[in-house]
């Protein structure tokens, strides 16, 4: 799948990150095209989540990460969000005590255009009708799949330039995963949404992605167009179960 490539939206080079004194990333280079989807693949503990956290200023990092012309590194999370980076975190980050609709309102916290916010909430419900039925329900009572839909909708409320998704398929039944990824494809096509998707389900991620990168213990070991990576013998054996 190739989207309309008009240029590079995110350009990361030499990204390093630390948990306390322990270094977890050792100089990653990768890009996300404008309107494109990049996927980061890797085994447990490879550093996928860490990469997204580093981009969002949630942990100490070094190197550069340019979004448009702006370097994200060294900025506070709240400011990176204001630059248009929406993060759907591992574990979904649901505000469990609040209603579905309040979760969506929170996604638009940086915006001031109240009428457009109300319209965008309705648009989210159109993409995910199950959320519409549960708009007054406490978000902590939603199923795992519904919470993932809510997390994606909440991120969309930011009107993001770039969406980071951390294992959106995690812990969900195959049917729900399929539904979720078909909606992500629609968002890519209809809203021209650029995404950086972290996945352990490599087959799924390679289907939606344009570019793919393989991480092992904090280092990039392979990169290329998603189609080529999907054909690679080693990747097929290690990640695609052939």
């Amino acid at each position: 799948m190739t989207g309309p490539m008009t240029g590079t939206l995110l350009e990361v080079s030499g990204l390093e990150a630390w948990y306390g004194r322990i270094q977890a990333l050792f100089g990653l280079d990768f890009t996300v095209a404008d309107g494109g989807v990049t996927t980061l693949l890797g085994a447990n503990g490879a550093g996928k989540t860490t990469t997204l956290r580093a981009l969002c200023g949630m942990i100490r990092s070094a190197g550069t990460a340019r979004l448009g012309g702006t370097d994200l590194t060294g900025r506070a999370t709240e400011d990176i969000v204001r630059l248009g980076v929406a993060h759907v975190p591992q574990g979904r980050g649901t505000f469990t005590a609040m209603t579905v609709e309040e979760n969506l309102q929170l996604g638009a916290m940086t915006r001031r255009d109240m009428r457009a916010i109300a319209e965008d909430i309705e648009r989210a419900y159109a993409y995910f009708p199950r959320l519409a039925e549960r708009r007054r329900q406490q978000a902590g009572t939603l199923s795992g799949g519904e919470q993932q839909m809510l997390a994606i909708s909440r991120a969309m409320m930011l009107k993001p330039r770039l969406m980071l998704l951390d294992e959106p398929s995690f812990g969900l039944a195959p049917l729900i995963v399929e539904e979720l990824f078909s909606i992500l494809s629609r968002l890519k096509a209809e809203e021209n949404l650029s995404m950086l998707i972290v996945e352990q389900n490599a087959a799924l991620a390679l289907e939606i992605a344009d570019e793919a990168y393989l991480i092992e213990t904090g280092r990039m070991v392979m990169s290329g167009p998603a189609r080529d990576i999907g054909q690679d013998e080693n990747v097929r054996r290690a990640y695609l179960g052939y």
Partner: protein, 292 residues
């Protein structure tokens, strides 16, 4: 029967004050996970500020609202200067800071205004309402003002964006940051509001207990009892807990002979211990349903 109704009503009146203190405690506890036991001294200091303003000739209600504003700013400043730097510090550092705040406000009040007991005016009057003896005008005023305050706070947290952001920051700071909420400032705002709520409680109770630097000691313990009964993380629970403690305190003081007026405070302490032992989540703390 008349005595019983009277005791319930005056229990609700002081209960409103405990509810305010409990709410202030819970608001800060939710944000920083520590119990601010300088909350009472902050309220006492605010009350002295109101007294000073009135002494200088300000009309009561002007002094009242001015004090609320000053207390709000003071609360924000305390958070920014003392507790923000302590953000990641261990529990003990927080306790030391609370003790320091407690001591500073207590001795500063004594130093500026001395330790003699002062009377504090009531805008409602001390006469009994409608001459019935059922409830005094001041007690009625206390109930009305606390209910209005609590109602406004409810609307603020339920129906404004900033209230929503404050709730998000308290319940899930990491996710709140990821939607762009400035969590640090929300905590500061919480401190400001807690200080302002405490100021209202102090000004309302001062005509009853009289103004002096130790006036809030017992009130704070009742407030803690209310907060603990409510489960410490539930603002609504804290409010109900505060009212409940007020009523129980009053009825026990009147009807249980061994308790009497002198032993009332022991009831609050016993209540705290009992709730923590038998229902540590409080009577309202575990209402939240989660599914993982």
């Amino acid at each position: 029967m008349e005595l019983f109704a009277h005791q319930i009503l005056s229990g609700l009146a002081t209960g409103g004050i405990y509810a305010c203190m409990a709410l202030a405690i819970v608001m800060i506890y939710q944000a920083i996970h520590h119990l601010n036991f300088a909350q009472g001294e902050m309220a006492m200091f605010s009350t002295f500020i109101a007294w000073q303003l009135i002494e200088w000739g300000f009309p009561y209600w002007i002094a009242f609202f001015l004090t609320i504003a000053i207390s709000f700013v003071g609360g924000v400043v305390i958070e920014r200067t003392v507790f923000k730097p302590l953000h990641r510090a261990p529990v003990l550092a927080h306790i030391v800071a609370f003790i320091a705040l407690f001591a500073i406000f207590n001795s500063l009040a004594g130093f500026i205004w001395d330790f003699t007991i002062k009377s504090f005016p009531t805008p409602f009057g001390q006469q009994s309402l409608f001459g019935s003896g059922l409830i005094s005008a001041h007690d009625t005023g206390m109930i009305v003002v606390t209910l209005v305050l609590l109602g406004l706070l409810f609307l603020f947290f339920r129906h404004t964006r900033i209230g929503l952001a404050m709730r998000a920051a308290a319940s899930n700071p990491d996710s709140a940051r990821l939607v762009g909420v400035r969590v640090g400032w929300m905590i500061a705002l919480g401190w400001g509001m807690a200080a302002a709520i405490g100021a209202v409680a102090g000004m309302l109770i001062a005509p009853v207990v009289f103004l002096e630097p130790n006036m809030m000691l017992a009130i704070l313990i009742y407030g803690f009892a209310g907060a603990v009964v409510g489960g410490l993380i539930s603002p609504g629970g804290a409010v109900i807990g505060g009212f409940a403690v007020g009523v129980v305190e009053n009825l026990a003081g009147t009807y249980v002979p061994v308790v009497g007026q002198e032993m009332k405070l022991t009831i609050a302490l016993a209540l705290i211990v009992a709730v923590l032992m038998f229902k540590p989540t409080g009577l309202f703390g575990a209402r939240l349903v989660t599914r993982v």
